[in-house]
Every structure is written in C-alpha cells, then in structure tokens.
Amino acid sequence: MGQRIVIDPVTRIEGHAKITIQLNDDHSVADARFHVTEFRGFERFCEGRPFWEMPGLTARICGICPVSHLLASAKAGDAILSVRIPPAAEKLRRLMNLGQIVQSHALSFFHLSAPDLLLGFDSDPASRNLFGLIRADPETARRGIRLRQFGQEVIELLGGKKIHPDWCVPGGVRASLADQARDRLRQRLPEAIETARSALDLMKGFLDRYPDEVSSFGNFPTLYLGLIGADGSWEHTDGRLRVIDAAGTVLAETANPGAYRDILAESVQPDSYLKSPYFRPLGRTGGMYRVGPLARLNLCKRMGTPLADAELAEYRQRGGRIVSASFWYHYARLVEILGCVEQIDAILEDPELGSDHLRARADVNAREGVGVSEAPRGTLFHHYTVDETGLIRSVNLIIATGQNNLAMNATVLQIARHWIRGPHIPEGVLNRLEAGIRAFDPCLSCSTHALGHMPMRVQLIASDGSMLDEVRRT
C-alpha cells in the first residue's frame, strides 16, 4: 500500500510551503511535490492604482527584496512613459540593485544555509541554526552579518531606509548619493571583499565535504534564463533576455522585455499558489528552466570584474562551463557577492554619480510597460497595462521563485529518491529535503505572496488516507 509523507511547512526559507512525498508499497519514492500554501494577491489589488504608485506598492511585496520590485516596477513605468532615464539615475539604480543582491545573498548563505553547511546536515537540529553557527565559527557569523549590513547600508544611503525605500520612480530616481555616504561605503569595501573571499574558500571545502548532496540536490539538466550584458557579461539591471539549454546553446534571446510572452508560459497546479512558468517553445515537459545565481553564471561569459572573474574561472574548472547541480547555487551566490562588491566599488568612483539630472519627466505615452531586472533569486518581470490616465488595468508579476518552481519540485523528488529508505524519515534526511529547496533561496513572500517563518510538519500517510506517522518542528 502506498504512503504519503508531508513536510509542512518547510523551514528557513522566506514564506510558507510544504513538501509531500508519495511512497510506493515497497517504500520507494513514487513522487514528490513542493507546495506553496499561502496567497496574497498583489496583482489583483493593484488594479485601479496610478502606475506612479506601483514601485512603492509592489516593494511592499517583500521585506527581503523590496529593491527588486522597486526596480522592475520603475522600469515598467519607464516603458509607460516611453523615456530613457538619465545616465546618473541608471547608475544609481544599478548601485542599489547591487547592494540588494549582496544583502540578500549574505542572508541566504550566512544565516539560512551556513548552519547546514558548517555544522552538517545530520547535526543536532537544536543547534543547527545561527546560534549554533556562532558557537562553531563566530568569526564567520560576525562577518556574514556585517556583509549583509553593508548591502543594507547601500540601500539605506541611497533610498533613505533599508526596507521599502520609495526612491526608485518611473523615469529615474529621487535623489543622488551624498559624498559623505559615498565615502562611507568606500571604507567598507575592503572588508566586504575579504568576507566574500573567505566565504568562497569555505564553500569550496563544502563541495568536497558533501559529494552526495552535491550530486542529489537538484542535479539535472534544465534550461537557464536570465539577463545578459551586450558583451556577454554578467548583468543584473538591463541587457538582453537569454535562454540557453543544458549544453549552453542559446535557444532564445531578445532585447525587448515585452517579448517575454513569446518565451514564457505559466501553468498552475491545484495544490500550490506558486505558478510554474516554463519555456513556451518546448512546452511544460521540456521547458523547465532555472533562474538566479546558478543560471546567471551559466549564461554569462564573464563577471566583468577581476576578482569575480578569477573566481568564475575556478568555479568552471570545478563544475564545468554549464553547472547543473543546484547545490552550486550557494557557490554561485558567493561569486556574485564578490562581483557585486567590485561593481559597487567601480560605480562609487564614477563622477557621473554626482549629477543632479536624475529623472526624465513625461506623461503616459504607452498603455503597456514591462520591466525586467535580476532579483537576487532570479529574473523578475513586472508587466502593467494602464488606461489613458495611467491607472493600472492589469498587472502580471513573474517572480524568480515561481520560475524555479518546476526545478524545485524535481529537486525534492531527486532528494527523496536518493535519500529515503523505508517508511520513516530520519531527521537528517528531512533536513536535506528542506536544504534542497533552500539552495534555490526561495522567497515565497514574493512569489505567492506570503510572509513569515516556516516551522515544519511531516506526515506519513497511507494511500487510503490514514496517517501513519507525524513529526512536528516548530
């Protein structure tokens, strides 16, 4: 008789979700599903609002990556205005997005995943957390917190506050970066670089320490989607939208963000509020793709900064030109942190940053606008239509986490099949199921959109619906 195991909710990710595992009669894994169980509905209640308000409204989707929504929304607003924003504004937006990527990646690696990686997936769950990390390696914990603080400071000094800054607007930005703030950030750069490099050293050790996890945490061929610079460099704000296959062949590329509808389609499942986008030309079955750090590093030729390029070269020596293991998301995240800090350094030296021409002003010149940017977790689309006065008629948000949904489901199935032996799941295996999801750093606050932390419940259910076993983690 088949059995079903439910992990509800998954912990140490942003939002609420559960995992269900269906067992065959011989206790082998038949199927596994990652469900998102919360709903918020920003797309609907933004209707009727002036598009000018959208950056401020949609930034409230998430307390972790508000800047990503701010940026994509403002870009959609740029398209509605049909303006090209001033160069200084473009650089300032880039600066804020780089700070956002640094702070979010630092949170993911140091706060959420480092306890597993440093303490071990089978370590005592009572101490497998930030405090356990502090006991085991206080310097890494302190550095991680300060690195995140650095990224937050970039955002705060530009936007006036760390969370939900209403600074980025259709047509540009509200304010420049004061000289004093620029100097303050410059002072912190060496420490941020040193922290990223020491974390990379740690990460390389984890690849050797966890070969089974590397090979079983979402290690399969998929497509990859993301922005790419005009010269093939790593990109996070503008550039071209590109899709490659598992061999690196370019399947689609466009400079027109509105063309995303030709590239992507969205499917829904009855058991999850998280939509499942896929590459339209290959259909849902063959169109599974991944976004985020792993995809961005697979897509780009180079990072575009010296230290990060050196790390990317080593990354590819270890993993190949196209890396398919989702465990490597952690590694890719750290390479990106280093590249971001270097790019922040370069932008801070740009004299154009002091320009007071920060905003292009216009009225509604297009009834539709699409904004695309790279959020820490992957490519983010904001698509609005407006009436002649600029009131929102429709909103479509395609969030990074949703785009990884099919791959996260496949990851859970792969981990379950690799690690589950029999009807009872050891805690360490339970943790690996969660850690496989954590590698993607999903932000369900954004993607569904839910808020909160995730205690865990596991239910073992027979095919007749009776519950055989239950474990709770609060």
Binding site: T11, R12, E14, P50, W52, E53, P55, G56, L57, R60, G63, I64, L107, H111, L112, P115, P125, A126, N129, L130, F131, L133, I134, R135, P138, A141, R142, I145, R146, R148, Q149, Q152, K161, K162, I163, H164, D166, V169, H453
Partner: protein, 193 residues
C-alpha cells in the same frame, strides 16, 4: 548627589529602539516613539526607528550601556504601557529578517560578548490594519511610553528636560488625540510619486 553614580560612569550610549510597521496603523507606534526620542537630541542617547529587528542591530546593542525597546502590543490588559525587563533568550531557529528583543540580546552576547541590560515597553494598541494613523489608544500609549522612556533615561544619568519627566497628558486634556512629542512628518502617508 555629588557627581554621577559609578553605575553611570559610562560613555556608551543608551539605545532606544522602536520597531514596527508604519503602514500598519498602530503597529507603527514603536518607531514613532523612537523618532520622538531622537528629536529630543539628548546627549548619550541613540534612538533608532526600525521596521524590523535585524541581526545587524546586535552590534549596536553590544555597544550600548542600556537598551529600551518600544513595541506595539495588541494584548496588554488595562490599556497602559507595560515595562518588562528583558533577558537574552536563544532561539532554536536561525534569524533571518525578523527577530524579537530577547533573541537580539542573545545574539549580541553570542557575537560580541556583551549584552546590556534592557527593558521592553509594550504599548497598548488596537488597530494594526493597513493605515498610517494611530488610534487614540495608541496615541495615549505613545505619550505614556515617552514619559517612561524619559524616566529611564534619567535613571541612566541622561540629562533630560524637566517637562519630559512630568506624567503623560490625559487624552481629555488640551492636547487630546495628539501626542505632542510625536513628529508630525511621520504621520503623513509615504509619498509614492
């Protein structure tokens, strides 16, 4: 008194942290109180109005000699501000972007080897739905909280103005419905355009 007490012979600041969401009605009372304290411009006092308690605050805590947290509380009976001493409390869960004061204190202890004495002011509130204004209950609570903070600052050797130490005004008094020391600017809805 001949000079400062030895207990106050300390140039580390007193830290006042008000936390909450300014867009969720009364939940914003903590940051509004902190903004008001910042507006006092007192020597030896650092006031932070924050949306959430972040792990990064642990370092600031470790540099303080005394910490006062101010937070909205939907549940306290009696409608008065409740002051509670805080002790560090370790959490089984990792800290992401939300924390509570005892966990933050524990984090300061664990990361930086120092955890200052701290108190929590729970300000009674009623309405934490979407909105930018405070209910009369929260406004009264904010005035009470400011009075209590002034008293605690004085106990910590901070020189405060005498009028700050007078009891909070009654809601039926001449300033009913408006906490006079709350900055007006914080009541305005965020300008989105």
């Amino acid at each position: 008194m001949d000079g400062p007490s030895p207990a106050f012979d300390d140039d580390r600041p007193v830290l006042v942290i008000g936390f909450g969401n300014l867009l969720r009605g009364d939940d914003g009372v903590g940051p509004r109180v902190a903004e008001a304290v910042a507006g006092w411009n007192l020597s030896g006092v650092v006031a932070l109005a924050v949306h959430q308690l972040l792990p990064e605050l642990a370092e600031s805590l470790s540099h303080a000699r005394f910490v006062i947290f101010a937070d909205a509380d939907v549940g306290p009976p009696g409608g008065s501000v409740i002051v509670s001493p805080l002790a560090p409390r370790w959490s089984l869960h990792a800290i992401a972007h939300v924390s509570d004061p005892p966990v933050l204190l524990a984090l300061a202890q664990a990361l930086y080897g120092r955890c200052p004495p701290a108190i929590l002011l729970r300000i009674p509130v009623r309405d934490v739905n979407v909105g930018c204004s405070l209910s009369p209950l929260a406004e009264t609570g904010a005035r009470q909280a400011l009075h209590r903070i002034a008293l605690h600052l004085a106990e910590q050797g901070v020189v405060v103005r005498p009028d700050m130490l007078s009891p909070a005004r009654s809601r039926t008094g001449p300033h009913a419905g408006r906490p006079p020391e709350l900055p007006e600017g914080l009541r305005e809805q965020d300008v989105l355009q």
